[in-house]
């Protein structure tokens, strides 16, 4: 195991910012710590870099306990959100900083810097100062500076948040390619689920200092462990109901005035009574005629977006349900029209309420 966090916790005064956090990474894996601001993801990253000492727990890198090591004795490369390039140094001097601290001989430094300049497409910019670079270029220098020291872990703190949307995607893919190439074990902090899902091998969805769910992008999207995860990742509809019957064919959930639903037993906790049924908009199938397990409603709004169209359906209970369908298949609906929304039992997730 390359990196291991054991029951890591940090309190500031009475506030528990990070609470009993554990995960481990194999060599070359990239994990995204994903969550809203204040969820403890940045604190976790800063503990990994050594800027914050944990209240309890341990951090192991390649089997060595580094929990109490000061930042400069740790072998981690950190890419800061604002890049934190040294303003009085050129691109080359910035990249060379870590090599100088490690006493790498001149000749080797030159070769390694040249390699990084090549890899991160910084040719021709070597003698520029940070303020003479664009945001994207600054970001690449920050990455080069962190990578050139061959760190055991690469830490990334919202590395794309200061880039514009277009650049963000290409930079993310590029970074992922380099990270794979070098086999770098990486931890990546973000509040942007798209970024996390596109780049990371594993995602830890954090909330209130704990990991709500740890899994691959498809796991957390398809089978969210908690209501928070379902809501934070992608779009979700929630319908409250109660279990009325359990039989071999499934569990029957009464959704009050919206109707009823039978779902496989494995989806419902053994003793759950009051539940919340979650379904993603793209799994809501809209038909003009009643279908199996369908809820009747009225089209409230249709918004056509080209490839897809979103329809907001008002149910008799007053609740609304968002459905997504292919753009060219939305023509038959009109606002105010009657519609049936069928929920496929295999695509719903049931949470205890």
């Amino acid at each position: 195991m390359e990196i291991e966090l054991r029951n890591l916790a940090k309190s500031f005064g009475a506030t528990k910012v990070v609470n009993d956090l554990s995960f481990s990474l194999e060599k070359g894996e990239m994990i995204a710590l994903l969550g809203p601001s204040g969820c403890g993801k940045t604190t976790t990253l800063r503990m990994m870099a050594g800027f914050i000492g944990p209240t309890s727990g341990a951090i192991l890198v390649r089997g060595q306990d580094v929990t109490r090591l000061p930042p400069h004795k740790r072998d981690s490369g950190l890419v800061f959100q604002n890049y934190a390039l040294f303003p009085h140094m050129t691109v080359t001097e910035n990249i060379a900083f870590g090599l100088n601290r490690r006493g790498i001989p001149r000749e080797e430094q030159k070769a390694r810097i040249a390699g990084m300049v090549e890899k991160l497409k910084l040719k021709g910019l070597e003698q520029r100062y940070p303020k003479q670079l664009s945001g994207g270029q600054q970001q690449r220098v920050a990455v080069a500076r962190a990578l050139v020291i061959n760190p055991a872990i690469l830490l990334l703190d919202e590395p794309f948040s200061n880039l514009d949307a277009k650049l963000r995607e290409s930079t993310g893919i590029e970074l992922r390619r380099i990270q794979r190439e070098l086999g770098l074990t990486s931890i990546f902090v973000t509040h942007d689920q798209t970024e996390a899902m596109a780049i990371a091998d594993k995602i830890a969805v954090m909330n209130g200092g704990v990991i709500e769910q740890l899994g691959s992008a498809s796991e957390i999207y398809e089978t969210p462990a908690t209501r928070f995860v379902a809501e934070f990742i992608g779009k979700a509809n929630f319908l409250t109901g109660s279990v009325v019957d359990r039989s071999a064919s499934g569990v029957r959930i009464d959704l009050s005035s919206a109707g009823a639903l039978v779902v496989p037993e494995s989806k419902v906790g053994r003793d759950a009574r009051h539940v919340e049924v979650m379904i993603r908009p793209e799994n809501v199938v809209l038909t003009a005629d009643p279908a199996l397990q369908s809820l009747q409603g009225v089209v409230d709004v249709i918004s056509y977006q080209g490839a897809t169209a979103h329809a907001i359906i008002r149910l008799p209970s007053g609740l609304t349900l968002t459905a997504e369908c292919k753009g060219r298949e939305a023509g038959w609906m009109s606002p105010g029209g009657k519609v049936f929304a069928s929920l496929q039992p295999e695509s719903v997730t049931v949470f205890r309420h």
């Binding site: 400069h72 800061f80 020291i149």
Partner: protein
């Protein structure tokens, strides 16, 4: 907002600017030009032309040695109060401790304390305790006056300093001390230089403390000029002042040239 310079308001503004600059610059010009007059007394505008008084000023070893004494004291004061001031400002900007704002106020207080009060109390203190003799007394006194200037100038610069830069340095393997010297100091360099220059100038032309505390054998230049003026305002004294003005101008021009060259 732009003002049309030909409008009545614009004309008035231009006139006020000219008058204000004339008020600031003309007296300095007088001091430079007046000693050029070929009379035994100071007159403005000068009558005739001679470099006699300037030559006399340069010849007079009293002025030269006073200049060197002031230079030495100013240099020592600038160096020491910059070190003390930067460290104090660093502490004030970094750490939140009980009484921090009180200490900040205390550090800045000599700026409002009349120099005369400080001069009297320090000369009493030094006479009573016998602590330090000679120029050391004046250096110490000037440090008290100059350090607040350094703190004043460097504190805002330090407060603006992006601390993630130091974190980045430490993440790359720099110890806290290395990151202080390799990152923090170079980044806030201009603030430090400004504080250092202010400290030097303050010490260099300070009269009151120097009158009370300078060692009698080695008076500073302001003290020598002051006593010379008391004896009679002869053109040589004006020439000395004129020389200082010229020297300052040379330094300003050099600084601009070097500064511009470095920015390119």
């Amino acid at each position: 907002m732009t003002i049309d310079p030909r409008s009545p308001f614009g004309l008035l503004l231009t006139a006020i600017c000219i008058i204000a600059f004339a008020y600031l610059i003309l007296p300095i010009l007088v001091v430079v030009v007046a000693p050029l007059g070929d009379t035994g007394y100071l007159a403005f505008p000068p009558k005739g032309f001679t470099l006699r008084w300037y030559a006399a000023a340069l010849d007079d070893t009293r002025y030269l040695s006073g200049f060197l004494t002031s230079l030495q004291i100013g240099g020592a004061v600038a160096l020491l109060s910059t070190i003390i001031g930067v460290l104090a400002a660093y502490g004030l900007s970094r750490y939140d401790f009980p009484g921090r704002s009180l200490i900040e106020a205390l550090f800045l207080s000599p700026l409002i304390l009349p120099t005369l009060v400080l001069a009297v109390s320090l000369s009493l203190f030094f006479t009573r305790t016998g602590l330090l003799t000679g120029t050391g007394r004046l250096v110490l006194a000037h440090i008290i006056v100059c350090t607040p200037y350094v703190i004043r100038v460097t504190l805002p610069v330090l407060r603006r300093f992006d601390r993630t830069l130091e974190e980045a340095a430490q993440n790359l393997g720099a110890s806290p001390i290395q990151s202080f010297f390799l990152i923090l100091l170079p980044v806030i360099k201009t603030g430090i230089i400004a504080g250092c220059v202010m400290a030097f100038i303050t010490s260099f032309d300070e009269v009151v403390l120097a009158l009370f505390l300078a060692s009698p054998g080695e008076p500073t230049l302001p003290v020598i000029i002051y006593s010379a003026v008391q004896l009679g305002f002869e053109p040589t004294v004006a020439a000395v002042s004129g020389l200082l003005v010229i020297l300052t101008c040379v330094f300003m021009v050099l600084y601009q040239i070097l500064g511009v060259a470095r920015q390119d």
